[in-house]
Symmetry: C2
Subunit: 238 residues, 2 copies
């Protein structure tokens, strides 16, 4: 089913663009993604609903495919130089049984950081990423873009840290004096690594749940970017 679309006011284009808003993503349980690499990962996981591309893309024929003009693609894309494909994906539904390695994002606000952290968690074979209620939306376009397709391969859910207390060691990154050098810790079989907000760090309520507070020893400046800190910690703790 291949259609040609040259108007930015086409109904399917308007529907796709409506998914740039969180409330519409929630209603339809769908979101927008782009790049060929992400498309491959989404196809592999049967999560592609509809494709908008400059040229025909190799995909199962039951997935509606729209050949669009460059200005239509630019309207759909969140990149200044779109790669040539934008697609509607359905939100994956996960049943994660007994995850061992969990990353918890406590009010992460920058979508680039969240996407990069999801990509990194996949690279270090984490079982699950949990984001706090007040974190940026998982399906924000910039999260999806910077996850580089990882969003289609690792379970990412909104949830509560307290649900892991008692079963998992809770490792909370913190810059306080109580925090211990992460290089010196031993790692439990089941753990949650907790990273905090870009400006104010982890919440006070979160710290109360910590089994251990950990820190990366650095010099000259107060803190690392949260995605960098996450990368350094996940490289050791996994």
């Amino acid at each position: 089913m291949i259609k040609v679309i040259t108007s930015k006011n086409n109904e399917r284009v308007k529907f796709a663009c409506s998914l740039k808003e969180n409330k519409n993503r929630k209603i339809h349980k769908m979101f927008l993604a782009e790049t060929f690499k992400s498309l491959q990962m989404a196809l592999k996981n049967n999560l592609v609903v509809e494709i908008f591309a400059l040229e025909y893309v190799d995909a199962p024929s039951e997935i509606p495919q729209n050949l669009v003009s460059e200005d239509v693609l630019k309207k759909l894309s969140s990149n200044v130089n779109p790669e040539g494909v934008v697609f509607i994906a359905k939100m994956p539904e996960y049943q994660v049984n007994n995850p061992s390695k969990v990353l918890y994002l406590d009010d992460i606000s920058d979508p680039g950081n969240m996407g990069t952290l999801i990509r990194t968690a996949l690279a270090f074979d984490y079982d699950l990423v949990v984001t706090s209620e007040n974190s940026v939306s998982i399906y924000n376009e910039k999260v999806i873009n910077s996850s580089k397709g990882a969003i289609f391969q690792i379970p990412v859910v909104v949830g509560k840290l307290v649900d892991f207390v008692g079963t998992h060691e809770i490792l909370v990154t913190n810059l306080s004096k109580k925090a211990i050098d992460f290089n010196s810790i031993t790692i439990a079989d089941k753990f949650v690594l907790v990273l905090g907000n870009e400006s104010h760090g982890v919440n006070k309520e979160t710290i109360k749940l910590a089994s251990k507070e950990i820190v990366i020893p650095i010099k000259n400046i107060d803190s690392l970017n949260v995605a960098i800190a996450g990368g350094i910690l996940m490289n050791k703790i996994h």
Copy 2:
């Protein structure tokens, strides 16, 4: 010397905005920066030329200071929600004698990645960051923003990797099969850590200069974000 500016067409505002272009930055050897934290770091290093702020900022009286309206600030700023201060800084001039710990960026194109890498190099006490000719401009506003003031504290210059051959061990990150696990290497007193472009990795000519090719062992995906890889490597190699 405090002036009040409410017009976006004011000559000083126009001059400041002209520094958003690389060619003008090169002519005047100045660039735009923002946030109070960066301002503090720049003041400490005597690099502030002129300040534009919503309210008076505590700074030496010889530095021209302009109190500006919100729309003037928005014109000057590269952030959607500017923090309240934008300033013109002069490009630092460095004499780096005999640097031991060097980070070399081989055609890094994303300004956020470059800024974050500069911040991380400062945190791990590197002596020098060298960027290839084809990397994004060091003084691009997004580089400055994501460096979080680190640009005022660690020498960053455009240069050539070949200048370090013979005196430094050249550690090149590469995804080839020849590359060895970075965890297993011993670190020389003097080294250059080399990171490659976001899409195509390090250049072929760069690989030829390698003392060692190194890799971070990961699963499930092809590669990490370059700033994340840099963070993981610098945490070990410093």
